[in-house]
Amino acid sequence: MSNNKQSRIRHHRMVVFSLLSLVVLTLVLPLIPYAIAELGETAGNVANPGTEYWRDVRQRDRIVTGTTQVRGVDTDVLINVTGEEWRQFRMGQLAPYGAIVLGVMVGILVVYYLVRGKIRIEAGRSGERVRRYTSAEMTVHWILAITFVLLALSGLILIYGRWVLIPLLGDAGFSATATASKVIHNYGGLLFAAIVPVAFFLYLKDSLFNLKVDAKWFLRAGGYLGGEEPSAEKVNAGQKAWYWVAMLGGFVLVASGLVLDFPNIFQQGREWLQGAHVIHTIVAIGVIVFFFVHLYLATIGVEGALESITSGHVDANWAKQHHDLWYKELQTGQGGGSASEEPSMSGGSHAGGVASPIAKD
């Protein structure tokens, strides 16, 4: 009896268990392959060589050196990863921002001219001429000036000619212009490289900042924005600033320019070229902006300024007005103007005594 009952219970249990296991198995069995596949995936966790290859090529994880049988610059680099950055810089930043910066500066100068007009010699020309530059200083200036202008112009043509000059000259015409620009830029750069150090040392003494005087000059913005014109030495603080911009900028331009020149001799790689080009163009734009100011002030901005570098002499009143400390120095004969050192070189008719830096017309 109990036996019977027990066996019936057992039977029930068996049925239930059987059913249960059947259900469970039906549910689980199809999953097993997945589980195995999953296990296999982890066990055979082999990196995909295709993906690895491209990671290596793009130098994402590590620097991977390639090899090739073809000789030449960077031939062992499969993907020039910085090329696109350089393109973005040149086309997306340099060209538009450069144009903006240059344009804004030109605009400022135009507006300034319209508002302020030419800064006259307030006392009028005295007829008395003061020796300001030696002929060496003038020669160096003009070599520097001409090469700089040519380089700036040819450089700007290479950046902007595509948009500005092709519509005017046509493809072939502009190509000739651009080729000329390239030649001028490549070889003119050498001349520039030679003259910059000369200029640096030649003008260095006069261009050292005199804090007391120059700080004041800067604070008053040289009087250009109104107010009384501050005192200045032979070279005022603005001019000194231009000296330093031009010279330090010049050195940078020369250094980066030499990196860019003669790729077939030095076999420099693209990253050098790209980097040098970025530095070169940014600095060049900067120097050109300053140059615009210099050009403006030296020509139409200030009466009597240009003649200082064409003849070496300025009017005494001009000197008094713009470089009072220098003029005073000359008067006291302390500093000894350069003219006094090289009278025979000064040219023109200087009846005045050798000791006197002031000559009568």
Binding site: Q69, V70, R71, A172, S175, A176, T179, A180, V183
Partner: protein, 963 residues
Amino acid sequence: MKLVKKKEGADQSPAQVVLNAATMDRRTFLKRSGISAGGIAAASSLPLSMMQKASAAAEPAASGGKTDQLRTICTHCSVGCGIYAEVENGVWTGQEPAFDHPFNRGAHCAKGASVREHGHGERRLKYPTKLVDGKWTKVSWEQAINEIGDQMKAIREQSGPDSVYWLGSAKHNNEQAYLFRKFAALWGTNNVDHQARICHSTTVAGVANTWGYGAMTNSYNDIHNSKAILIIGGNPAEAHPVSLQHVFRATERNNAPLIVIDPRFTRTAAHADLFMRIRPGTDMAAVWGMLWHIFENGWEDKEFIKQRVYGMDEIRAEVAKWTPDEVERVSGVPEETVKRAAQLMAQNRPGTFIWCMGGTQHTIGNNNTRAYCVFQLALGNMGVAGGGTNIFRGHDNVQGATDFGVLSHTLPGYYGLSGGAWKHWAKVWDVDHDWLVGQFDQGSYEEAKGKPAKPMNTKGIPVSRWIDGVLEDKANMAQKDNVRAMVFWGHAPNSQTRGPDMKEAMEKLDLMVIIDPYPTVSAVMHDRTDGVYLLPAATQFETYGSVTASNRSLQWRDKVIDPLFESLPDHTIMYKLAGKLGFGEQLCKNIAVENDEPNIEDITREFNKGMWTIGYTGQSPERLKQHQRNWHTFDYTSLEARGGPADGDYYGMPWPCWGTAEMGHPGTPNLYDTSKPVARGGLNFRARFGVERDGVNLLAEGSYPVGNELRDGHPEFTADMLKQLGWWDDLTDAEKQLADGKNWKTDRSGGIQRVAIKHGCAPFGNAKARSVVWTFPDPVPVHREPLYTTRRDLVEKYPSYEDRKSFYRLPTRYGSIQAKDYTADFPLIMTSGRLVEYEGGGDESRSNPWLAELQQDMFAEINIEDANNYGIKDGEQIWVDGPEGASIKVMAKVTQEGVAPGVVWLPFHFGGHFQGKDLRDKYPKGSDPYVLGEACNTAFTYGYDSVTQMQETKASLCRIRSA
């Protein structure tokens, strides 16, 4: 700037020459020159362009040129890639890919893609030149032939015919190779050989002695059918790049694993699934190691072995010694890797087994090649599509030149040098046998089978040992006198070892004749001041004829251009010289000669009449040309023509192409394949070694090709056998006349072959392959340490052979060299290999600017560990010193894992520098290759295979130091 015929180049810098080359030929003969009309704008107003130079140089185009498209075959490696050459007014103006060619489908490697440069030939040897008081002097062909002939005759008079050595070439086409061997025979010497001796001679000997024929059993295309691919001692990615096209088809479509066994992580290894790095010279350990696992796990094909293999039990006994521990101790490969390789090969059948010179160029090269065969036999991989031993030969026609017996130990067709062989060929040549015998030295210098043997019947000096033929004391040599004159007819000496000895030998010679399109290193490496002649030979693009690819297919080449400069085709030079030497008439008795040029087709027909052993008889010039015209009809995998005029033929009628051409045998695509009737290219192992040995049956048991009426193994066919079988009357009367008393090899009617095949039988019998070659020094292949080994601890257990007194006429040293320990001074292993841009000694490829630009420096690949230990930086110049005293100056190429620490790898294609000295100024003006470099073989050492005299270039010793 006249371009139809090349002029001699002016003295120019390489770059200039290239520029000029670039501005010349094609420009002047531009295809559409007629329609050029208007557009000649002055290129640019500014003089800064490369193209301006070009326009300035452009001459008014020669109009009305007709373009011919010719079909030729690449002259570099043995793949046999087809080429379309476009020729205009005799100038080779274009090279087009042959997409319809069954071997390469238009593909090429760097060399094949630049063969058109042969049409420029800027750096060729331009005219016959003679060294007079140290100066190269131009001479006429007539003068050169006369002077050379007179000197040879004088040497013959004084020292006998064996003192002139005829060194032939794998660059000859079949007809020239055949004529060359015949030439040497008519001169009266067996001192004739070519590069096969130093590339695959151990393969030919090992493989032929295993199952009958010494050649690639399947084909490059057949690799498509492989389920596994094993490459040992080969780097086909550089040596046979187009073959990788076929390998990749198998790896991609069949998921076939690619196993590479090599000391160096090669470009091929880069694509392998399993790379097994072995110590150079331990192939035996690797192969027996794999076989150990196969036997251990019962993976061998027992049925196949029972039916078709003799002596596997003896192999088992030897393999049993190669436990995983021992394999690792000797070769350096861990058990895991060896087992995996064995397993991959066992589980993926059929698998193919590929080897190259990494296996062959050893003192035990013949052991290695036999072990490879045994491995395939054990797995039952032989005689099936997708299986086989796919031995990649080197040069374009090294297979053909081997088949035509440009070797010191056999006549064409592997007939050997026995009296019967000479009689057979005398009949084919239609020359008087007695006269022929009289041409040879009648003395006797060695014994064969206890009887004095005559030089006519004894093996000549092999190319690997010509140096010793010159330098050895003649008392120790089995010929009358030393070698006194060397004829290098298409040979690069820098492909041979022992540079300083070779230089000495060259200087000791009375006469050196170099016949080659290029001056070769032979012109410059010695310090002779006279007695050297350079004769300009034409390349294979300047003549025509047949060439045998590695897979035994014969291909016909068109003549692309006329011989450049004053060069002449090789067979013309042979005829001229034979005339001078007094056997011109015999040389071309049944061959038409026009303007001193023997007719190529006539030569083909002549060898068709004699080459019964290996079935070079069915490939008539007509059939070959038909195949050439119908490349597109042949299947890319099976090579069988489907429809078209050559319907049913296999491309190039891979030998054996039995019987006469009229019989129309299609050729044999895969050797020993019993799944086809013999008449359709089926075959079985050859009955070459008797029918019984020690009471054991050597004939096949229960295995035979489809349709074989004997339905079992059988001996080779003879006339008597036909009579016994009652098949004699199947012969025609004409056949009966020639066949009576002959066998399948000597019956010049082809009748015996025809009848045997008619009854489904292979003419050469049906036997087992033998895994034990009882006629060799090591019947069962065993490992022996290289003569110059780093592993002194293994020398006792695996010693080399004893020195031999007379082996190929020369004393040959083994044990006495191995006895000395050099490892203290020379601790590194030196081994060599190939680069894709160059071929062989490289004189030709280094003269091709398109190739030379890509490999400008000879280098040594060394592991970074060694580099750091010796203080050597990548790109630096170093000295590699060999233990025999030679030193070479090369650039160091430091590698992470390319070679293992302790191994120095050198490419062997460079030449023109000798022990640090640049020899450029010693070349005849304008014919110096663009790139020169130190030959690695200068530093390689003594060591020759125990069966074939193959040189050992894969395992020696060296030391490195900064230069």
